[in-house]
Symmetry: C2
Subunit: 133 residues, 2 copies
């Protein structure tokens, strides 16, 4: 089966048959027009923790360095205390680690996803029962 993104135009019932049903929860905490904390920023924090720099994290997510840096900057500016510390400062691509605040954001956000799904198991089951197998 092709792995290209399906659009309504090229998807078919045959493609959908026998594909597993997945449930994804996404929470966004917004302030005005800005998504202060959301799935993109949390995945980026996890990638920074794993790879040790914004540039390596961006590469691992197939994201430009510029976009990753802007997301981290936007996150840090929305927080009382920053989620990351850049070891060499500036935009030169030095090392970057999570602060305890950054670690808390990742943990709390992933807890929310797990707990939300558990709390709504009954409705999710009812919804998936409406879908073709």
């Amino acid at each position: 089966m092709a792995t290209t993104l399906k659009t309504p135009e090229n998807a078919s019932d045959t493609d959908a048959a026998n594909q597993p049903i997945e449930v994804r929860f996404r929470m966004r905490i917004t302030k005005g027009e800005t998504i202060a904390i959301g799935p993109g920023k949390v995945s980026l924090l996890e990638a920074v923790r794993k790879h040790g720099s914004i540039s390596a994290a961006a590469r691992s997510l197939d994201m430009s360095y510029r976009r990753a840096w802007l997301l981290i900057d936007e996150l840090n500016r929305s927080l009382k205390s920053p989620a990351t510390i850049s070891e060499q400062g500036g935009q030169s691509g030095g090392g970057c680690v999570l602060t305890p605040v950054g670690e808390s954001i990742v943990r709390l956000y992933r807890d929310v996803e797990t707990q939300a799904q558990a709390a709504c198991a009954e409705q999710i089951e009812s919804l998936t029962q409406l879908l073709k197998p």
Copy 2:
């Protein structure tokens, strides 16, 4: 204050200050690459219920008729029994109403959002406490 969408480039700390913090939960049930049930389709079902046709629902959401029709078609093809009934059939833009299945989808989906937020109140409070006021 301008109502244009803020991007990292034109947003500033001043814009964000005194804006209310909002929490939004979004659940997507996917099958393969297709979002079988998600926030866009549920909002569209609600608009169909309110406005009585796909064309009026599309207008109310600032969406093209074609896109709305494709979303409804994709939803109905993913369900054992359809969520809508078109009163005149075809794509001619006649009336459209929700079936009991469509009503169930809207109710269950909105229940999930409310219940998820209630179940995660503690973590959400901890996360928002990390944000600047």
